[in-house]
Amino acid sequence: MTVRDIQILYEQKEASPSDVVKTFLDPIEEREPKVHAFAWFDADRLRDQAKMLERMSNAERGPLWGIPVLIKDNICVEGVPTTCSSKILAGFRPPYSATVVERLKRAGVLLLGMANMDEFAFGSSCEHSCYGPTRNPWDLTRVPGGSSGGSAAAVAARMAPLALGSDTGGSIRQPASFCGVVGLKPTYGRVSRYGLIAFASSLDQIGPITRTVEENALLLQVIAGFDPRDSTSADLPVPDYARSIREGVKGLRLGVAKEYLGEGVVPEVRQAVEAALDQFRRLGAVIQEISMPHTEYAIPTYYIVATAEASSNLARFEGVRYGHRAKPGRDGQTMLQMFTQSREEGFGPEAKRRIILGTFVLSSGYYEAYYGHALKVRTLIKRDFDRAFERVDCLVTPTAPTPAFRLGEKLEDPLTMYLSDILTISVNLAGVPALALPCGFTKSGLPMGMQLIAKPFAEETLFRVGHAYEQATDWIHREPML
């Protein structure tokens, strides 16, 4: 069921939120054991929420009244275990909700549960979770992508109509691509980060994962906008996305950068994106070649900036106020032991690796050579985008260089895993918005994704372009066989 389907049922009084909960409980019960997209789920609580919603008067009912939304496990929901899929936060129930969650509640949604993810959003496969891996609904031997793998897999498997993810280097777009759904990384500052458990504060954004572009716009409409609790959220009006979404692409200038179609992008993906460009030409868009010369520096820049910030952001998990604390040994426990053992037991290997790397690039004697230098290269990468958007309205690239890879394939080879983010990472470094949407299937039936990138706060353009493409193709109508 799409959001629109549910809303029509409500409008025609053919179903209540309790009925809708029931229609989602069946597929969840059937498919969740195979896909494992949830980090936390409580059917009773869901039924209670539905009853609460039913007691609301018409005037109180918000724009997403009675629509189930799955929340990534790193977005705080008051009283609900929010753990970043990490042992170190096992059982943590925040005493407050993230701003986006407050806005969703005001819009009347049903909070469906918490979605599995790579621990602290460190990963591109959803294998680094203390709850075990999530699987790709299109092929259960493959990863759903990450880190928002649970959110993308649940939407693809029709267990949730809408989901929230977070994107630091591609964590919404890459799983959207692997799972054949639509994911948006909004402009940095468009959506409040208050309540998003930080990975890399200067890169993180919360964004919607949905089946269609239109639903994506609908969900962004609810969560976007200035938040006085987030100093980095932009105090700008949020446009009415529904108004412009049907305007088409006629006359729009779409850019293609050769740096995004280079080595590493497998032929099937390249061909799918080229076919999409043909589609856009047919729809009246103008395609231009442009150059993004600093793209090759994106991954090293990202891994320095992101791990540095992460090493600091994860320092608060030390077992004093919340989270996992190591048991004292036979000889008791000193403060230092309490810190080091709690963190050793609580963090998985990828989290440890990134914390150590981030500590290194900030440490005395190395700061300038690594972190300081990376911040300057970040400026160069951002300037590539500034120049590109002087010439074009939107860039078109593949989302990921390959379709979903197999579970375990890259687990012990962190560098190769990092390289799979090559097409999404620059977007976070530049702070610009990007929309990932399906653009075809491989011969073996795996979804492939296309990424649309626009200038800051031009999400409207992305929805417009994405919607035009979606209307002209039928990829969104395919369903995984589960």
């Binding site: 705080c76 929010t82 980060r193 309540g195 504060s201 320092a315 608060r316 403060m335 700061y367 972190y371």
Partner: protein, 492 residues
């Protein structure tokens, strides 16, 4: 060998905002543990800081009051280290782009060298958040954490290493505290911890060039709970380091803790204190910039500071410079003084101005010291009372000696000086006839002294005055007593 101490001080000042620096929790001192905390200052996962505007305005005020230049771009950094009282595992502080730099404080000369002003340069003024508090239970082998203080706004005021003795350090702190009180941004209460100080000290050879960077090994002293402790700990370190250097030992760059009871510093050996703070720009806060009009506006709104006020006291009230400096070093004393002056009868202020100053710097200062009260308002002796006391002396109603008694009684009972005089019947006898009667009796009882005076022994007059005062239980006006006695003796 002769050494010259090179001393710099870091002062931490808690700002008296209503709410914390990055969240809306109260900053009130003394609340029950962990009752003034929220997700932000507890460092819960997902929270973000937003800067309190008042902290920034107070910071600009202090920076300007200390003659600093406000920096065009002001950035917060994270200072990363682990300690159980530091909720996020980093402190939001400032690093290479602080609020203000390049200021100075002019310190009036020390007791050892009065009248020799010296200048202490202010390296920087920056904003940061305070940490929580630990309660140690060493017998039970654990500690307790209270995070009410976590996130209380602090200004750190770092001096250049311009101080050369513990006395100078002490005077600098006194002067700095005076200025900060005038700026009305903090309680400046060391006991409550709203003013704290760490010291840095190294020794240079006495012969070394003062303008060259110091070459000694810098030691940081922490756990200093009073200005006195700062001076004592520095004196201790000067001795310790001097002895070590004389013995050819190599000093360690380290942090040492002052033990006020034992009167010594001790090094901290634990590995927990090996730090590499890994400063980097705080991504959760944006940069700040103050438009120059705003700087001008705050600058114009600054109150008169101690130095300017002392000069005005000299000009306006004709006070000696030393008195003016002493009166103005504390804002409350200077305000009290001027409140007194305003109450003086118009047209005849000149001599009472000095008298009021004398009382404030003499008896009242001593009373404050003895009663261990902080500031003149702690004495419960309002300006009206002091003016009344001075007026009682000036009009001859009581003697200066009686006035001291009256003051003690007034402080004890809370009555006004006039009421004390009334109640105790202390009024000075100024009636010439009653003094003459008493004087006649004295002369009868002391014929020898009277005769001595006649023979030219002038000092016996003072003896006779003393006898008269004793007879009247000190109530006689001493000037009048002397006059009447002389008159009687001359006419005999």
């Amino acid at each position: 060998m002769e050494y010259r101490p090179v001393i710099g001080l870091e002062v931490h000042l808690q700002l008296k905002t209503a709410s914390k620096i990055f969240c809306g929790c109260s900053t009130l001192f003394g609340a029950s543990p962990n009752s003034q905390v929220c997700p932000v200052c507890l460092g819960l996962p997902g929270v973000l800081p937003v800067l309190n505007r008042q902290v920034f305005l107070y910071g600009v005020r202090v920076a300007l009051g200390l003659q600093c230049k406000i920096q065009p771009t002001i950035v917060f950094h994270r200072k990363n280290y682990f300690y159980p009282d530091l909720p996020k595992g980093y402190q939001i502080s400032q690093y290479d782009l602080p609020l203000g730099t390049g200021g100075h404080v002019v310190v009036p000369g020390t007791a050892a060298a009065p009248g020799t002003d010296f200048k202490v340069r202010i390296h920087r003024v920056h904003m940061e958040e305070d940490a929580g508090k630990l309660v140690h239970r060493p017998e039970e082998g654990y500690s307790l954490v209270d995070l009410n203080r976590a996130g209380v706004p602090l200004l750190e005021i770092v001096s250049e290493p311009d101080l050369e003795s513990p006395e100078q350090a002490h005077e600098y702190l006194k002067t700095l505290k005076g200025i900060l009180e005038y700026l009305e941004v903090s309680d400046c209460d060391m006991e409550k911890g709203s003013l704290r100080c760490d010291a840095n000290i190294s020794l240079s050879p006495a012969s070394a060039d003062r303008t060259a960077p110091p070459t000694g090994t810098k030691v940081e002293i922490k756990n200093l709970n009073s200005f006195k402790a700062v001076a004592r700990s520095l004196a201790y370190e000067i001795k310790r380091q001097g002895r070590a250097l004389d013995a050819g030992e190599k000093l360690m760059q380290e942090t040492r803790l002052w033990d006020d009871v034992q009167g010594m510093t001790q090094g901290m050996r634990s590995k927990e204190f090996a730090h590499d703070y890994r400063y980097f720009p705080e991504p959760d806060l944006v940069p700040f910039a103050v438009p120059s009009e705003e700087i001008d506006r705050v600058g114009k709104g600054l109150p008169e500071l101690p130095r300017q006020r002392a000069q005005r006291f000299v000009d306006q009230y004709k006070l000696p410079t030393a008195d003016a400096v002493a009166l103005t070093s504390s804002r409350s004393t200077a305000d009290y003084y001027e409140a007194c002056i305003r109450l003086l009868p118009k047209g005849k202020e000149a001599s009472p101005c000095k008298a009021v100053a004398n009382w404030l710097l003499g008896d009242l200062a001593r009373e404050m010291n003895e009663r261990n009260v902080d500031g003149i308002e702690g004495l419960k002796f309002p300006p009206g009372h002091l003016v009344e006391l001075v007026d009682l002396i000036d009009s001859g109603k009581i003697s200066g000696k009686m006035a001291k008694e009256v003051l003690t009684e007034a402080l004890q009972s809370g009555q006004s000086p006039a009421a004390v005089v009334q109640a105790k019947g202390l009024s000075q006898v100024t009636d010439r006839e009653s003094i003459r009667a008493a004087a006649r009796k004295v002369l009868e009882e002391q014929p020898q002294a009277a005769a001595d005076y006649k023979q030219g022994k002038g000092q016996s007059l003072m003896f006779l005055v003393g006898q008269l005062m004793r007879k009247t239980k000190g109530a006689a006006n001493p000037g009048l007593a002397q006059e009447v006695l002389r008159e009687l003796l001359e006419n005999r």
